[in-house]
Symmetry: C2
Subunit: 268 residues, 2 copies
Amino acid sequence: MVDKPFKRPIGIFDSGVGGLTVLKEVERLLPFEDIVYFGDTARVPYGNKSKSAIIRFSTESALFLLKKKVKMVVVACNTSSSLALEHLRRVLTVPVIGVITAGVNKALSLKSQNRIGIIGTRATIASGSYEREIHRHDKKIKIYAQPCPLFAPLVEEGHLKGKVVDEIVDMYLKNFKKNHVDTVILACTHYPLLKSEISKYLKDSEIVDSAKEVAHYAEKLLKDKKLLNNQRKRGRKTFYVSDEPAAFVKLAKLFLKRRITKPKIVNV
Amino acid sequence: MVDKPFKRPIGIFDSGVGGLTVLKEVERLLPFEDIVYFGDTARVPYGNKSKSAIIRFSTESALFLLKKKVKMVVVACNTSSSLALEHLRRVLTVPVIGVITAGVNKALSLKSQNRIGIIGTRATIASGSYEREIHRHDKKIKIYAQPCPLFAPLVEEGHLKGKVVDEIVDMYLKNFKKNHVDTVILACTHYPLLKSEISKYLKDSEIVDSAKEVAHYAEKLLKDKKLLNNQRKRGRKTFYVSDEPAAFVKLAKLFLKRRITKPKIVNV
């Protein structure tokens, strides 16, 4: 059915619904691309699981996308990008991009970046993936890394502001405030939904949203490899999940601010 | 190896570490019983997943216990008890008990029980399992059911008191306070660890901990079926998990206030 590689869809996967922040940016920048999205909602979250579980789940998710004949795989999940990207690059036959390099390069392009704060899941922060990538460019940058394991549940519950959010933001970010962190990388796909509260609390910090940056990376890579779709109609978006889609559809409205076509359930 | 059914271990399973509150009560009441515990840490939590996923995961967990030749299965997880108990009773060849009947009977035995509050995961509350069981006994009791999806993440993060806990307790329980709920059932294995904060907030309510009650049920059932172990030495506890055990072992200390023998990893 698919004859030319550039006509194939882009594959995006995430542990659940969070990766829709990446999908949103990719479809904004590349409106003519077809996209296949997979959310592993039966096993969500990945962020407090072990490296071996994260590698296994990520590989199964990516292999599902390959069966859908994608031309590239975007690992929207920061936890998977931190712990499974190398493994995925070894085993997959298409280009694979994660969110870390994109987020780090954006942070390094900003004026102030003497003190970079990184917030993410326990697994992402424990992996040290962002520190390594930053220090590969500049060893002198001071890094503050803070796991924020309650942020994703807050977002999934639709708590985007209010007293509970204020207290949790204060608990996690007071150390950044105290240390005058100038740049904060949102190293989890859920966190863009808390961006305005984080900005309000850390008034003097620039906030980097990896989701936005990775879309630019995807565009550049497809251009370089001559894989951009030349169709002139809006690309088709297809959604797959590993658990019943009701909760996913509801949350998708929060993340995308629009309705999505009904996801199909698959066992990976 | 195992010759007599009464010498077999009791099986307990939960979506993760929360069921250790049940194990603690069972070992306190039945110190001579061997126990095999399984925590499905690779797929935790169950509480915001679909009924079909919960039934599938619960069945796989219970079948794993059967392979370990248990003489009964205790479904420690309230979400599994709410959604999968009937299915488990149909497919398993040993007695199966859940936490709901035990908790409800205890609540109904208390003096005041005109207004019962139930707190649990989204899936437990949405199932209506506790309401049905209460109304089977007494249709006139007024029930207030409140999902508290942030309580389990709080406990797993070790946040058992403080400002964040206060705000979340207030958010979830102010309706109980306003309506003078007299009895509150903790319909999730994590919540006993927040019991003192919940009691402090709802000064006039009695708090029912299902974990305690289910241990009495297990004892009664084993006695009735002549399956109590007559060995006079402390029973052996064996732990299995579906993800790397490091996080489980750490949390087990919080739940049991002691160290446990190293869990083995299994794929279910």
